[in-house]
Amino acid sequence: MPSLPVIQPEDVAKAARSRPGGAFDAPDMDENGVRYDTLLRLGDDSLILGQRLGEWCGHAPSVEVDLSLANMGLDLIGQATHFLNAAGECEGKGRDGDRLAFHRDVLDFRCCWLVEQPNGDFAQTISRQFLFSTWQKMLFDHLTASKDESIAAVAAKAVKEVAYHAELSAEWVIRLGDGTEESRRRMIDGLDWNWRFVPELFEMDAVATEAAERGIGADVTAFRADYDARIASVLAEATLDAPPNQRPILGGRRGHHSEHLGHILAPMQFLPRTYPDAKW
């Protein structure tokens, strides 16, 4: 079995310089650094979930489900394009959204764990979408008031689309949960898989706190109660109990990811990294 590379003296030196908390490359906490990291978090969430949904294309249980998953994926990729282009401009090193999406390594991604999770069966995909889109809708509602013009513009543009994602996935949670014995079992399993990644959505680490204080990011804890209420009401309609709370898994925002992310990036990045100058 391959093991991690040997720890070199420069790694030790780098670790000694890093902040407590274990971040590999902690962002600069000045205005630009916070803005860049905030844009990456938003863009990477949308990019990775959009790519995940794209894996369903041609495989969904029916044509209309296939279309809805692909269309949601397209919306998310559209958001990612705007956020990552803005991140590239903010960084000022000549990288655009494509460069950030296709030429960054896994540890430099800032998405949450929920969006990396495998599609599993349709119920697992839908439970992930429901938990994420419900959150993203509330987040974008808040971000329309961001002092950062590009974040506010994308949020205002995308919030209507995300409202659709949240509604569609909630309808499916209800239909499957309150459906047959088989669909119910699968929806319970799907929720069970994704539930432990919800606390990360509401984590306020140093960057998120700084972004909220500067008025460019949102204080996600402000809508935690609304989120919990919405999830509980849909689950009640689906005749499902909320899964028991498990140990939360955190770290995506600081570059610590599940093993799944690398496997998403491999097919997504292979072509542009192998032929960096290829054009359509």
């Binding site: 209309e64 397209l74 569609l168």
Partner: protein, 156 residues
């Protein structure tokens, strides 16, 4: 001075005429002007806005507009994209809505409207089949009277 101002107006009018000849790549019966994508026209700049964030036609639309401007001799007119304020289906012109309906696509409902009219027979006995249709901007509906399925341009 008067003649210079007139000439600028003429340029803007000529630009609008060119833009009116550029069809939407997905729904070619409506122009980019009908759809409300064109936000502003000045003698040196055309400002456009995307319909849906993930609309794959956005890049094609920009290229088509570029080609049309170039072909009409407006090579130096720049195209600028703006997200804000976000596009809404309210910006589709009345002429555009009529063209959509004639093409078999139910136009988006105006504020206060509830019933979706079948673009084939005009009945309001209609129902949604699927929230997502052939493109992100359309839903699939069905008429319970003439039984024809049709696309509804979703309110956005």
């Amino acid at each position: 001075m008067v003649s210079a101002a007139l000439r600028l107006d003429d340029v803007e009018q000529a630009l609008w005429a060119v833009l009116e000849s550029v069809p939407d790549p997905e729904i070619p019966v409506v122009s980019v002007v009908d759809l409300g994508i064109i936000r502003a026209v000045t003698p040196d700049r055309v400002t456009i806005t995307p319909t849906y964030t993930g609309c794959p036609a956005t890049q094609v639309i920009e290229r088509d507009i570029r080609d049309a401007l170039d072909a009409a001799g407006f090579r130096r007119v720049a195209i600028e994209t703006t997200l804000s304020p976000p596009w809404t289906t309210d910006w589709i012109s009345d002429a555009g809505k009529a063209k959509l309906k004639a093409y078999g696509i139910a136009p988006p409902l105006a504020a206060g409207e509830r019933a979706v009219e079948c673009p084939q027979c005009g009945s309001t006995q209609t129902e949604e089949i699927s929230r997502f249709g052939s493109t992100p901007c359309k839903a699939q509906w069905r008429c319970r009277d003439c039984l024809e399925p049709f696309d509804l341009f979703k309110c956005h």
